[in-house]
Structures are given as structure tokens and as C-alpha cells.
């Protein structure tokens, strides 16, 4: 079981499989003269759509048979405060990685917050089980990862990817995930003590808790979606952009396609003005 799981989590194998599929499955390019079509194509950023849709269905299947049922049991059996402590402890373990990324992004104040949170929650908060840094000291949690740091450094995102098991991603984010796997101090400590299987346990618990927190939300999105795949793609990419900007508004060149003024209205105005003269 564990060796099969190890293969499943080996990034190299999946990358090779994806490259092979990539060559055979590409979304059709729009007509280069149709500017709006090109803008929409670029906004979706999904040249590998056929392959991504395939893995999206694979992941949905895995979710239905495994993740979702486990998440339901987790939520049905554990009291809410226990679930919150699981989430707090997992978040606390990510402290060192968040701190490193705060610094790599030049966010000194946020790095200070991360240190404060980690120190307080690891001690008074009993190994991170209670988020007293937030409730007593007003140190709110925030998230960072290497993918976000790469984005801040100006490294391009690459095409949208749906990665088997891991879900929506991009080459940039995937590289960040892989880097984190190797540099995370707890992972290294576990590897040194020949307890590497606990790395997987941690990821699995993280996935179950996250899924349990989003049972209704995801059901709601699926029920009301006209195209579930495209909706999740858009939600993921917008949310990711917001995380990278730490909640700041998107720059103007990225929001240029968001206009509630329509060319045909402007044309009509010009025509009626001309007629009035």
C-alpha cells in the first residue's frame, strides 16, 4: 500500500506521464485576428484543456470514492474544537516555510508576524493546537508558499494544470510544492529519523481536513455550475492571483478585459450624436 502510494506521490512519474499526454492533447488555438477570442484564450490560460479535463474527472472519481467519504466521517465523528485544533496544528507546522517565504518576498512585517505566531502557538498554544496568537495577541494567520514567492519574483505561471491527486495547479506552483516537500524542516527531520511515512500522513490529514471544511461549498458550486471544470479553473486562478498579491487589487493591465462599457453602445452613441448634428 505504502509503496504504491509512494509511486503516486513521485512528481517525476506524473510529469513524464503529463508530458506524453500533452503532446497528444492540446486545445485549439483561436483565430489570431479575433482579439477578444485571443484575450479569452489567454485569460483561461488552459492550452492543455483536454488533458486537464481528463485528470479533473480522475480526481473527481478519487474524491467520490475516497477523500469525500473520509472527510464526511472525519467531520461527523470529531467534535468541532478537535477539528479546529487539527487545522491549527497543521497550520502551525507550516510556520517555518511561511516565514522563509515572507522573507524571500521582502515582507519583513509579515515575517515578524509569522515568527510571533509560531513562538506563541508552539508554546502557550500547546504545539499549535490552539491559535492563541490570533485570539489573544491579534496576530492573524496568513499563508505563503514557494509558488507565490516565484510569482512575486516575476517567474511566469505557465499553463493551468490539473495534477492527479493534487488538483488545480501550474508548473510554477508545482515547482513550489516540490521544493517545499524537500526543504520543509519537519519533513527533513522525519526522513532523518526514518519515519518518512509520516510526511504522507501529514499531507493526508491536511487534505481530509481541508475537504471536510469545504463539503457544502464545493457541493454548492457543483450544483450551480453550468460548467464545473471551467468554474473551478476560474475560481482557482482568481483566488491564487489574490493570494499572490496578498489581497491587493490586480494591476490595471490584468484587469483591462474587465469593462462594463460595450463597444456597440459607444458606436450607437457616436451614430446618434452624428445624426443630431
Amino acid at each position: 500500500m505504502l509503496s504504491a502510494a509512494k509511486i503516486l506521490f513521485r512528481p517525476g512519474i506524473w510529469l513524464a506521464a503529463m508530458m506524453a499526454l500533452t503532446l497528444s492533447a492540446c486545445a485549439s488555438m483561436p483565430d489570431r485576428d479575433d482579439q477578444e477570442a485571443v484575450a479569452a484564450y489567454n485569460e483561461a490560460n488552459d492550452p492543455l484543456e483536454p488533458m486537464n479535463r481528463y485528470f479533473f474527472e480522475v480526481n473527481r472519481f478519487l474524491d467520490q470514492i475516497l477523500l469525500r467519504p473520509v472527510a464526511e466521517i472525519y467531520r461527523g465523528t470529531l467534535p468541532d474544537p478537535v477539528q479546529d485544533s487539527v487545522r491549527n496544528a497543521l497550520d502551525n507546522l507550516r510556520g517555518p516555510v511561511i516565514f522563509a517565504n515572507d522573507l524571500l518576498q521582502g515582507e519583513v512585517n509579515r515575517a515578524g508576524t509569522t515568527v510571533g505566531r509560531f513562538a506563541v502557538n508552539s508554546t502557550i498554544g500547546v504545539f499549535g493546537l490552539f491559535d492563541v496568537a490570533d485570539s489573544w495577541f491579534g496576530l492573524e494567520k496568513h499563508n505563503e508558499d514557494f509558488g507565490q514567492t516565484f510569482a512575486v519574483w516575476g517567474i511566469p505561471e505557465g499553463p493551468y494544470l490539473v495534477v492527479p491527486v493534487l488538483g488545480p495547479s501550474s508548473p510554477r506552483k508545482l515547482a513550489g510544492t516540490a521544493l517545499e516537500y524537500y526543504v520543509d524542516p519537519w519533513n527533513n527531520w522525519l526522513r532523518r529519523n526514518e519515519a518518512a511515512e509520516f510526511i504522507m500522513v501529514r499531507s493526508a490529514v491536511d487534505a481530509v481536513d481541508y475537504r471536510a471544511r469545504n463539503l457544502e461549498t464545493l457541493d454548492d458550486i457543483e450544483r450551480n455550475a453550468i460548467d464545473f471544470y471551467a468554474t473551478l479553473r476560474s475560481l482557482y486562478r482568481q483566488r491564487r492571483g489574490d493570494e499572490i498579491r496578498n489581497g491587493a487589487p490586480a494591476p490595471l493591465d490584468e484587469t483591462a478585459t474587465i469593462s462594463f462599457e460595450f463597444q456597440e453602445d459607444l458606436d450607437a452613441e457616436t451614430i446618434s450624436e452624428a445624426a443630431a448634428e
Binding site: D227, A230, S234, Q238, G247, I258
Partner: protein, 203 residues
């Protein structure tokens, strides 16, 4: 002579600057006021014990219909396909989109209760539009950042987009609807068909 001219120019600049600032301010203030009113009304509705769930949702639908520019949002969402669509398709789309948005978002808002909201800022996006930033506080759970894009074009301000934690409702639907049309040989009819099925599912 030269001095006098300079002074006249400076005065003119000063006055127009003030006027500009005054006008700009009125837009942002009006938009804030508008969002505040809508928020207060929605919260009053959600915390009214005399209403049952379906009455609350009906009330929310009325608010959404009154304060959202649904025809404009619909056109934005259909994007380039709006011009390619026939008049009948445009009409049917507008009708289906309106009932889709009303039912989906009224139901989503209906889930809330006991929340408070706070206006944290307002940014002018262009001559007609202001983004009003709010934070919805949800007790134990982390607060939500919600930005309202208010457009003042004509008699009263109307909302053209809502972004929750940086995720825009209009942009998401545009991407989703575009994908349906793009991936089907039936084009716009495929989207109309899905929207029709969705409205049956909701009823």
C-alpha cells in the same frame, strides 16, 4: 501682465482641481452610501424572525433585482458571443441569466445570519464606476473581503460585479459560459440549453 495671467491660470487650475475632487468624492460617497443601504437592508431581512426561509429568499431576490444591473452583467458575461447571438437568443439568454443569478445568489445569501459588515474603503475605477470595499465578519470563522463594483450611469447607481476574496462573480461566469459555448458545436444554443436545465433543477 505676465503675472496676472499666471495668477489667472493658477486660480483656474485651483478651482477646476477642487471641482474635480468634489465630483470624484461625490461618486465614491454615493457608492458607499448605496452599498451601506443594501447591506443594512439585507441584514435586516436575514435577521427578521417573522419570516420563514422562503420568504427571506424572496426578499433577497427583490433586493438583488433592484440593485444589480442584471442586463448589463448578462451582456458582460456573454462577451463576444452577445454580438454573435440572434435577437431571440439574446432575449432568452437575458431572461435565463436573470433567473439563474437571482435563484443562485439569493440562496447563497440566505445561508448567512448573524453577520455584520463594515465598509473599509472605496476606489474609483473610472468615470462611472467605484469599487466599494467591505469586510463581512462571521463570528468564529475568518472574515470575508467583499468588493462591490458600483456603476453610476443614469438615474440610480447599480452593482455590476461582486468580488469575494478577490474572486469576481462576473469574471467567473464569463469564463464558464465562454467555455460551454467554445466546447460545443451548438455554440450559444448549448449554453441556453444548460441554463434552461439549471432553472428546472432549481424549481
Amino acid at each position: 501682465m505676465f503675472h496676472r495671467m499666471l495668477r489667472a491660470v493658477a486660480t483656474l487650475l485651483f478651482v477646476t482641481g477642487l471641482m474635480g475632487a468634489g465630483l470624484a468624492h461625490a461618486g465614491a460617497d454615493q457608492a458607499r452610501e448605496f452599498v451601506r443601504n443594501l447591506g443594512d437592508e439585507a441584514i435586516a431581512l436575514l435577521s427578521n424572525d417573522k419570516l420563514d426561509a422562503s420568504e427571506r429568499i424572496a426578499g433577497l431576490e427583490t433586493l438583488l433585482k433592484r440593485d444589480f444591473d442584471l442586463p448589463r452583467i448578462g451582456r458582460f458575461v456573454l462577451a463576444r458571443y452577445w454580438r454573435q447571438a440572434s435577437e431571440e437568443q439574446q432575449e432568452e439568454f437575458s431572461r435565463l441569466f436573470e433567473s439563474y443569478v437571482l435563484s443562485v445568489y439569493a440562496a447563497r445569501l440566505g445561508e448567512y445570519s448573524g453577520e455584520t459588515f463594515e465598509i473599509t474603503g472605496a476606489t474609483e475605477l473610472n468615470e462611472k464606476e467605484t469599487s466599494v470595499n467591505t469586510v463581512i465578519k462571521r463570528g468564529q470563522r475568518p472574515p470575508l473581503r467583499v468588493d462591490w463594483r458600483v456603476r453610476e450611469d443614469g438615474s440610480k447607481p447599480l452593482i455590476v460585479d461582486v468580488a469575494v476574496e478577490g474572486v469576481s462573480m462576473a469574471l467567473t461566469h464569463r469564463s464558464e459560459f465562454g467555455s460551454v459555448i467554445q466546447n460545443s458545436p451548438q455554440g450559444v444554443d448549448a449554453l441556453l440549453d444548460r441554463l434552461r436545465k439549471q432553472s428546472v433543477k432549481v424549481d
